[in-house]
């Protein structure tokens, strides 16, 4: 069954340092993995994605790494800024088959000035 796990409910970092958010998945089909950011009282907004045929995708300060053997992905934010403080969700988008888009429970990131 398609599952996504974010085992860290919260993370606190200093402004300018690196933030690393982690996610584990169970599905073995061809997937895209996505990261979303959510501020309070707003809908989630798409941040960055990676195809399961790639190891890395970079967009400005955000980089996602995919370790297929460990079924693990991580989002790196460098340098972290106070405006990055939000809840981050990873999601698994199965291509073919069930076509579900399944999310983890989220990690609340706090970037301290």
């Amino acid at each position: 069954d398609q599952q996504v796990k974010q085992n860290s409910p919260s993370l606190s970092v200093q402004e300018g340092r690196i933030s690393i958010l982690n996610c584990d998945y169970t599905n073995s089909m061809f997937d895209y993995f996505l990261w979303y950011k959510k501020y309070p009282a707003e809908g989630p907004t798409f941040l960055i994605s990676i195809s399961s045929i790639k190891d890395k995708n970079e967009d400005g300060r955000f980089t996602v790494f995919l370790n297929k053997s460990a079924k693990h992905l991580s989002l790196h934010i460098v340098p972290s800024q106070p405006g990055d403080s939000a809840v981050y969700f990873c999601a698994d988008s199965t291509q073919g088959g069930s076509e579900k888009l399944v999310f983890g429970k989220g990690t609340k990131l706090t970037v301290n000035p």
Partner: protein, 113 residues
């Protein structure tokens, strides 16, 4: 450019009442999703649709029904509301294929008393 619009934004229901949440998207997306967000539970998929006239169950479908009569609209119904359905509901739509990212509405905060 409205994107994904959810109606209503807030609602209070009494136990046993029924209501319909409306989601409308103007991006000609094939896929649409309904999620609920509860503290500590992340975003859980209720139902989804891969095209006009299709619906499928997600992770937590019990107590909800959906319809996708028009491509741009995805309706979520509660036939007999229960306090356990108090939540924030999010609708999303996606093009899928090589563009798997989903775009979310602003959410509907529903309280069942």
């Amino acid at each position: 450019n409205a994107g994904v619009t959810q109606t209503p934004k807030f609602r209070v229901l009494k136990t046993g009442q029924s209501m319909t949440l409306l989601c409308a998207q103007d991006m000609n997306h094939e896929y649409m999703y309904w999620y609920r967000q509860d503290p500590g539970m992340g975003l859980r998929l209720i139902h989804y649709s891969v095209g006009e006239g299709t619906t499928a169950k997600g992770e937590v479908p019990d107590g909800y029904n959906v319809s996708r009569l028009k491509k741009q609209n995805f309706l979520l119904g509660l036939e007999s509301a229960a306090p356990s359905q108090t939540s924030v509901y999010f609708c999303a739509s996606a093009l899928r294929g090589f563009r798997p990212e989903a775009f979310f509405g602003q959410g509907t905060r529903l309280t069942v008393v």
